[in-house]
């Protein structure tokens, strides 16, 4: 690499994390450690029914018996589950009726994050937001308006109180408690999250959105999202995440379950920008998330879109179980890693129904000393007649100390299925760069252009407002990285 490249790389690594502030708010934090009592305490705090406590305890017992997986493509950090607190919430206050009653500190935090919590400012009303601060859902906007259509959009805790039958029916039906060690942990200690139910035939009139924020020290964030689209319903959901800069690592182990019934469609987008740690890999969030959707009914569709730029380690495989005939699963991903970040991500497409289709587009960009892995499973069961899969996973390398890895698993047991997979690895083409610079575009902008072009297929899948945000995020993260 030339000196210029080195300088630019250096600049890139020093690029600051602009969401790294902390908020001084009175917090209610559970004592450190994990026992049955912790689980009981969380359950009691949330005023949960008996069956949910039992469900949690069952998960905890599983968790205690499970071993850490060792198949992942990075050194699993030693996470000491007894050294973190499993519950942190802004001090309980009487139930809030309007935004005026929300702690102004909290409001200003969300303002800094650029989240339009304040309904007044977003009268245009394109997005309804549920903000999750540490473990607790703080405020859900536009609830009343959504209610008119029968759409339920509330915090998970509220859903347990108000719609226990729905929660009971679907909780754990896609990601069972025993699925993996972090799913078991989440099932035992999850504190809040979002709940969405779209009734039959309703097209949700606005984008639903959740912002996650880890604030307190020594806490893990374990939220749980459950989205149910009833027959013929449609919903587009977006989550965004940030955290303060801290020297120690923090654990984020969420579970997201999507259920699409007959003719329903769910579109789930993530813009993940947790604190990635500093340039030596100190600190940062461990983002170990289990996300899975099931196309339960015929003609249903689930689409995952993710833009991953943050976290010290990102480890997740949003998947779709294509159970209904003619159902469709999609996965679009851009994962950008730099410094010492690690991303081991991809998807699982399980084809069970007839004429099911899946499409996977994964774009990895690695810079600095980072490692980016695509790991995906496409499985065609014997009964999945005429199934179709297309997979493309490309990697872009910036700098000569990073790595790109591809581990696709393709399993076919059906005679009429057609599958395609392709992957490429390369660096930014010198001819492309030359072409742009000789037309008067400076190298930095040129790289931005090329990378945005490279990721366009995925960014195009995001809802408009967020596509712009994601594009900016990529540009910031990549500033100065001529490779």
């Amino acid at each position: 690499m030339s000196t210029k490249d080195n300088e630019l790389l250096k600049e890139l690594t020093l690029e600051e994390y602009k969401y790294g502030f902390t908020t001084d708010i009175e917090m209610d934090i559970a004592p450190i450690g994990l026992t049955e009592d912790t689980v009981r305490m969380i359950s009691a705090k949330k005023n949960e029914p008996e069956w949910l406590l039992e469900w949690r305890l069952k998960a905890l017992r599983h968790f205690l018996q499970m071993d850490m997986p060792t198949w992942q493509n990075f050194d699993h950090p030693a996470v000491s589950f007894q050294d973190i607190s499993y519950y942190a919430a802004p001090k309980a206050k009487p139930k809030l009726n309007s935004l005026d009653e929300v702690d102004p500190e909290l409001l200003s935090t969300f303002a800094k994050l650029g989240i339009p919590l304040d309904e007044q400012k977003v009268l245009a009303g394109v997005v309804a937001v549920d903000a999750v601060f540490d473990s607790v859902s703080v405020k859900t906007t536009f609830r009343e308006k959504l209610k008119e259509q029968g759409v339920i959009f509330c915090s998970f805790g509220e859903a347990v109180q108000e719609h226990p039958e729905l929660v009971k029916q679907y909780l754990g039906s896609v990601v069972p408690q025993t699925d993996n060690i972090y799913a078991a942990l989440n099932s035992a200690v999850f504190s809040d999250g979002s709940f969405v139910y779209i009734p039959k035939g309703v097209r949700c009139p606005m984008e639903l959105s959740t912002y996650f924020r880890i604030n307190a020290e020594n806490t893990g964030q374990f939220e749980r999202t459950l989205i149910i689209a009833d027959e013929g319903a449609y919903v587009s959901y977006l989550e965004g995440c940030t955290a303060p800069m801290r020297d120690e690592n923090q654990l984020h182990a969420a579970v997201v379950e999507l259920i699409a019934l007959k003719d329903a469609e769910i579109k789930y987008s993530t813009v993940q920008n947790w604190y990635p740690g500093d340039k030596d890999g100190k600190g940062g969030i461990y983002n170990f998330v289990t996300k899975r959707g099931i196309c339960k009914g015929d003609n249903s569709k689930i689409s995952w879109t993710q833009v991953e730029t943050g976290s010290a380690i990102t480890w997740k495989y949003p998947g779709v179980i294509l159970k209904g005939d003619n159902s469709v699963g999609e996965f679009y991903s851009v994962a950008l890693t730099r410094n010492r970040q690690v991303a081991d991500t991809g998807t699982k497409m399980i084809h069970l129904g007839k004429n099911t289709k899946s499409k996977i587009i994964s774009k990895g960009i690695s810079a600095g000393h980072s490692h980016n892995s695509y790991r995906g499973l496409v499985k065609i069961a014997a009964g999945a007649e005429n199934s179709r899969n297309f997979t493309q996973c490309d990697s872009l390398l910036i700098g000569d100390r990073c790595g790109a890895h591809t581990f696709p698993y393709i399993e076919n047991r059906n005679k009429s299925a057609k599958l395609e997979h392709e992957a490429t690895t390369s660096k930014i083409g010198e001819d492309q760069l030359f072409y742009l610079t000789q037309r008067g575009i400076d190298p930095e902008k040129a790289v931005g252009l090329i990378v945005n072009g490279y990721a366009k297929e995925v960014l195009n899948q995001l809802p408009m407002e967020f596509a712009v945000e994601a594009q900016k995020l990529l540009a910031i993260s990549l500033e100065g990285s001529v490779g």
Binding site: D67, T70, W71, D75, Y409, L419, E422
Partner: protein
């Protein structure tokens, strides 16, 4: 508990080293294992070994202990065997929990009873099945792994040295290369082979020699009682030499069940060329677990053509190419046609260790009836192996109603200035193409043969030897007609 701990140790080991384990580390692990064995008093409870397979495992241990005092050959060989056996004891037979054996269950094979000696080998065997029409060769025949001088012919030519491996132990060039390569992998069958192999051949093509005719090695399975053979080959192609090597596998009609473990180490020196063909023609009594490890020096070329046809019930091939110097070129081609209840698994590793190398891999699988084909291709581009060009393609035709295809085309890239890509497809007969051919008066059966022929053409047209190519095309046709 001990077993569990050990499993964890093992797994971490794989993860760190990818496909190779370093000697020191292996030794420490062995030490630990010994400590455990000691504390358990003799044989340990091997988690990797089920009750059923205890017998073969114990049989092998006994065989090893018995041969120790009477071991011929130099002391260094003794030592290598000892270390290898410890490694095998440590690893045990693989189960499907092991990533490299995920789709390949060897338990049914190793739970049978076998003789470990060739006392029931037949003296007179027919090698006509392996004959390649119109091809004149230097013929080497191994009956149950043992070199048969009477059936071999025309091998006394300048530039070519062929020795039964047990007569090669005291040769300097043998000691230099033996167990230097294959034993660095974590394949338990290699460790077992190193410890207990009894026969095989050591072939040297001397400096600057260009062989006129191909060397044809015919492996015949003949024993009338169930037999487990462990054969070991070492091929050294010295500088500027050129050779063609064809290995055919056949089974005597009246042979009993047999399991064959063949380990071949190949060194291709500077500017040397080797074309290496595997033609798997064995009968259904025969099962194979083969491991081929190739090391290449500067400017060398190694081409492997790996062809499997209906017959042998179980075939596992590991082909690992290490491009250990710059300006090296390797090509791996494969055609696998399966029928009946066959299982064929091809695992390849292309390991780019140095810059400016090129590799090209193309495997085609066609599965009929209830057969299963597995492809696992891995390309490593190590740190600093810049300017690498690596290509990998795997195409599959799943024809059988109940057949299955599992494929894992993987890339692991640690350098940025490289061009790497892989592709993978699974499909069937194109109905339009079939219709087109039939509308022109070609019978359906013939049309299918034509289409498979065309499918395999990408690979077969790259065969360096036109006579072998014709022969392989004929075998594909034959395999389709009978299948």
């Amino acid at each position: 508990m001990i077993g569990l701990k050990r499993q964890l140790v093992r797994k971490t080991q794989y993860k760190h080293k990818g496909d190779t384990i370093e000697r020191e580390e292996a030794t420490t692990v062995v030490d630990e294992a010994l400590a455990e064995i000691g504390s358990n008093g003799g044989l340990t409870k091997q988690t990797m070994i089920t009750q059923v397979t205890d017998s073969l495992y114990k049989q092998l241990i006994r065989a090893y202990e018995e041969r120790m005092p009477t071991e011929e050959g130099p002391h260094s060989l003794d030592e290598i065997r000892g270390q290898a056996f410890k490694r095998f004891e440590k690893l045990g037979f693989p189960t499907v929990k092991h990533e490299d054996w995920k789709y390949t269950n060897v338990q049914p094979l190793i739970s049978q009873n076998y003789l470990l000696d060739t006392s029931t080998s037949q003296a007179e065997v027919a090698i006509g099945k392996a004959a390649i029409p119109n091809l004149d060769t230097y013929r080497v025949v191994l009956v149950d792994g043992i070199f048969n001088a009477e059936l071999s012919s025309g091998i006394d030519v300048p530039g070519l040295h062929i020795l039964p491996i047990q007569e090669a132990f005291d040769q300097l060039s043998f000691a230099k290369y033996f167990a230097e390569y294959a034993d660095k992998t974590d394949n338990p069958f290699v460790a077992l082979n190193t410890a207990l192999f009894k026969s095989g051949v050591f072939i040297t093509v001397t400096k600057n020699s260009v062989l006129e005719k191909p060397i044809h090695i015919i492996h015949v399975a003949s024993a009338t009682e169930p037999l487990f053979t462990q054969t070991r080959n070492l091929y050294v192609i010295e500088a500027n030499a050129e050779a063609e090597l064809i290995e055919s596998f056949i089974t005597e009609d009246n042979a009993a069940n047999n399991l064959n473990s063949l380990v071949s180490e190949i060194v291709v020196h500077e500017n040397a060329k080797l074309h290496h063909y595997y033609l798997q023609l064995a009968g259904k009594q025969s099962s194979y677990i083969n491991h081929t490890e190739i090391y290449q020096k500067k400017y060398s070329l190694y081409n492997n053509y790996n062809c499997s046809f209906p017959g042998s019930a179980f075939v596992r091939n590991n082909i690992n190419v290490r491009l250990d110097d710059s300006q090296v070129e390797s090509h791996l081609y494969g055609v696998t046609l399966t029928a009946g209840n066959q299982f064929v698994d091809n695992h390849t590793v292309v390991d780019h260790l140095k810059p400016h190398c090129e590799s090209y891999e193309w495997y085609k699988n066609i599965t009929q009836d209830t057969s299963t084909a597995v492809f696992n291709g891995k390309i490593f581009v190590r740190l600093d192996a810049q300017k690498t060009n690596a290509f990998q393609q795997n195409n599959n035709m799943l024809i059988g109603e109940k057949s299955a295809i599992y494929t894992k085309p993987q890339l692991e890239i640690f350098a940025d200035d490289v061009k790497c890509s892989h592709g993978c497809t699974i499909g069937q007969f194109d109905n339009q193409a079939l219709f087109y051919l039939r509308s022109r008066g070609i019978s359906e059966a013939q049309a299918r043969v034509l289409l498979v022929h065309a499918f395999a053409f990408d690979v077969t047209n790259r065969f360096a030897n036109a006579t072998v190519r014709k022969y392989v095309e004929h075998l594909v046709e034959q395999g389709l007609e009978n299948g």
